[in-house]
């Protein structure tokens, strides 16, 4: 009896533990509420939510052998994936993606079903009028930027951007916005399929035929432009011993036959077509293969060339991972590419699941990715033409790559482009920044809640400690010496705007 009583007492004592809520900093930019059992807390109420602390990224690891990333796939990793395989998360996206686990997360990007959905308001110009992508200068840029911001098929848009850079074609000479938009649709449709098919489609694409003089390349009067760049920039690479000057000339002859007519009324070329009479039917020798080759043969010979798969793998990889792959990774990717008949998706999935993407160093976001990412994080949509000139200054006006080799993504950041990213942030904060003089900003806001408010505006991006500490230092010192009553609200609004501005151009938001 005494024993039973003692046991009961113990039980009763145990049930006297109290369930109470505490704030937990997950270390990934989010502070969440958790429930704990324990002694009766001194205060029954949960205090105000504390500011999330800085994020400590793991030290980047050297190139890993081919494999699948096996570490934690949480909010931070999902954000990296969304920043590299898309245009960055909207608030909540990273958490949803992380819940799928790595494999399903990647597949949700690489295997979208049906047509893309664009959610949110349709794009307008600064006057609130609908944009005119095929007619108004720069509205083609707005049209695509809007898809980057609103499409639910983020990787399709990102891959279209990859191939826009890969097969870089510019309105500079095509001078036909719709034709370049059509070319980008070709990338959207073909970005996961056979690279050989994509190459064929690009070769006969009107914008490309005009851009690299395919329509001027004819029997007896070869124009080498497309043939050379196809080998050098699209399939094999220069200075690797893959082809000779003679191969360039013979490839150009093989590609003869495409034509179009100049139409004065239309002010440009129309009726792009293949005309067998303009094709050079002589014998051509390309990469040591001799025959009466035509344009499809050259696409095939280039893709089947022993040095193509390595070119393809290296180039595709470099868009997603800044460090070169290890030899074993590279060889595995080459084998994957070849064994899948030059299909893009299997290689892409392997890259997006590779340890190097999650454990390696960060990559600098291209300007348009930074721009779209800010708009997504801030919940903005396209309602301003300024993105046109801002993007030009930031170094990436869509449909206007600098030349046929695309953008030089080793030089995304210099003083001119950095200034433009600053201004992109200024414009992105339009409607999000506070009006210091007309608004009535909270006059007693403390530094920590100010920091929290700024972080919340961007959906709590995880910040590295130097950035975090510097912003907090600014929040704490910005009002030093401002003691007059009239200064309290307005200066706090300016402080908030300064935090928002510095977040937009922070390394954490410019790197992925």
């Amino acid at each position: 009896m005494a024993v039973a009583e003692a046991a009961n007492k113990k039980k009763r004592k145990k049930s006297k533990r109290y369930k109470h809520a505490v704030w937990v900093d997950r270390g990934d930019g989010i502070v969440t509420k958790k429930f704990k059992l324990g002694k009766k807390p001194d205060k029954t109420s949960l205090g105000p939510r504390p500011l999330p602390g800085p994020y400590k990224p793991p030290a980047p690891k050297p190139a890993q052998p081919m494999g699948v990333y096996g570490g934690t796939f949480g909010r931070v990793q999902a954000m990296r994936l969304l920043n590299r395989a898309g245009f960055g998360p909207r608030p909540g996206d990273a958490e949803k993606l992380a819940a799928l686990g790595l494999r399903e997360a990647v597949r949700s990007l690489t295997r979208p079903s049906g047509a893309a959905t664009l959610s949110g308001p349709a794009p307008t110009d600064s006057d609130g009028e609908p944009i005119a992508p095929s007619d108004a200068y720069g509205h083609d840029h707005l049209w695509w930027l809007d898809r980057m911001v609103r499409s639910n098929q983020q990787l399709v848009e990102r891959m279209a951007l990859v191939f826009h850079d890969w097969f870089a074609t510019s309105n500079d000479s095509v001078d036909h916005q719709q034709r370049l938009i059509d070319q980008s649709d070709l990338f959207r449709a073909g970005c996961f399929g056979s690279f050989r098919t994509l190459l064929e489609n690009v070769t006969k694409d009107p914008a490309m035929l005009q851009w690299l003089n395919g329509i001027e390349n004819r029997k007896g009067r070869p124009n080498e432009n497309y043939g050379r760049e196809m080998l050098e920039l699209f399939t094999l690479g220069a200075d690797r011993g893959a082809y000779t000057e003679q191969d360039v000339r013979e490839a150009a002859r093989s590609l003869t036959g495409w034509r179009a007519d100049y139409d004065d009324d239309a002010g440009g070329y129309v009726d792009f077509r293949y005309d067998a009479n303009r094709h050079d039917n002589g014998s051509k020798s390309v990469f040591g293969h001799t025959g009466n080759w035509g344009w499809q043969d050259i696409c095939r010979l280039a893709v089947e060339h022993p040095l193509h798969a390595s070119f393809f793998v290296d180039k595709l990889w470099s868009y997603f991972v800044p460090q070169a792959p290890s030899t074993s990774t590279r060889n595995s990717l080459i084998a994957t590419y070849r064994s899948n008949d030059f299909a893009i998706r299997p290689v892409l999935e392997a890259i997006l699941m590779h340890p190097d993407l999650y454990l390696g160093p960060p990559i600098v976001k291209p300007p348009v990715v930074h721009n779209a990412g800010l708009l997504r994080a801030l919940g903005r949509h396209i309602d301003d033409d300024s993105w046109i000139w801002l993007s030009e200054q930031a170094g990436q006006l869509l449909f206007w790559p600098p030349n046929v080799s695309g953008w030089d993504d080793t030089r995304w950041l210099d003083t001119s482009r950095m200034r433009a990213r600053w201004l992109v942030t200024t414009y992105a904060l339009e409607g999000r920044a506070f009006d210091a003089w007309e608004g009535e900003y909270e006059e007693t806001e403390e530094p920590e809640p100010a920091m929290d408010l700024a972080l919340s505006a961007y959906g709590y991006p995880p910040l590295r400690s130097e950035q975090y500490n510097e912003l907090l230092r600014l929040a704490r010192t910005a009002l030093d010496g401002s003691s007059a009553d009239w200064q309290q609200g307005p200066y706090r609004a300016l402080r908030q705007n300064a935090l928002l501005q510095l977040l937009g151009v922070s390394p954490d938001l410019m790197l992925a």
Binding site: S318, P322, A324, S405, E470, T477, N497
Partner: protein, 456 residues
Amino acid sequence: MSGHDHSCCNNYTRSQLLRGAATSAAAEAGRGLPAIETGMPTPAGTGLSRRSFISRASGLVLAVYGASRLPLGVLEEGIAQAATPERVIVSIFFDGGVDSLSLLAPTGDPRYAQLRPNLALSPTDGTAFSEDDRLRWHPSAQGLATLHGEGKVSVLPAIGYDGANQSHFTSRHYWEIGEVQVGARTGWLGRYLDQVGDDENPLQGLSMDGSLFPSLATASKPVAAIDSVDGYDMWSHVDDPIEGRMFESFKRIGSAASDSPGMTQVRRATKQTNALREQLGAFDGFTSPVAYPNGSFPHRLAGLAAMLDAGLPIECVSINAAGAYDTHSDQAADLPRNLERTCDAVLAFQRDLEARGLQDRVLIQMWSEFGRRPEENDGGTDHGAAGCSFVVGSKAKGEMVGEFPGLASLDEDDNLVHTTDFRSLYSSLLEQWLGVDAGPIIPGADGFPRYALLKP
């Protein structure tokens, strides 16, 4: 690509090499760079004090001082501590491979009309070239012809290198880095700045088209790119007094430690952008003593002259010529238009420098990645090998360097052969104009002859 081998490249393409370069160049700052050796000439501009800066400055800058919201201390730090360089080099790039056989047309060469049935200039077009009666200046290059007539243009009519590469990107890269190999990470002017440049002055290496010119890429010294010469504002939703504190934070963020190559790029760009904001924020609005043609290239040159006149510490400048020169088609229409815009602007720039009394401080070098093939295609010309280059300025010697080789014997790809090497040009410029030994800057410099490019 034919006839010669390349030193690369583990089956790795140029884009990857360059990607690697950018990500690691900064991290490896200084690696492999020669130190300044004793006995080397003192860097140009050493010893000019802030006082001399002010006394040299035009009324414009004094006005800017007065109108500037920047504290004097910032200007003092940013501009005044960097002395005004005594000599400035302006590198103008004909993007795409300008057709030297039109620019300086060999109308007196018997094969010319044969190779160019549609595009050949007639023997009466343009201005005769006084140093070789086979050649004539294109009518649209009259600006250069005029300056040549005044003894201010040294012409290199067939410049190139052995084993000419016909890829835009590879050949341009060689010219940018000052050597014939694929993997280098710094430009030839960048290496010059790495040797003698200032640690804090981004204006010393100035790219004027909105993005960094690879020829100005340094390993460690700051350089700048500007998109416009009309001020360098960085506005935001923040006003005084918080604005100054915000930029102080921006600066500190740029100076924080880096743990990866990408982070290093962001940090450097942040730091240099802020430094440039401090330097150029006050430079806004300028007038020119001469008329320039319309267009962005002339406007940039006009702004450059005004900035030089204002005493801004600019030393090496890179800028794109007007238009593009990859004339695979429509050459007869496109080339004259672009040549004229470029050459007229260069003439106006030279006149501007003369009006401001700056003509002895500035030397222009004009170049392209290659010339074009002597035999035309249907309406244009494909990539070639040797091309032309010009050294322009009051101090230029004004005598042709190397001869025009003629069209009778072409190279194995039917392209023009070169009679001078671009590394000879660079070595001569470095030694004669910039006053440093070319050896540590141009690999193999000892093997390239020097040309007298300047007036004694």
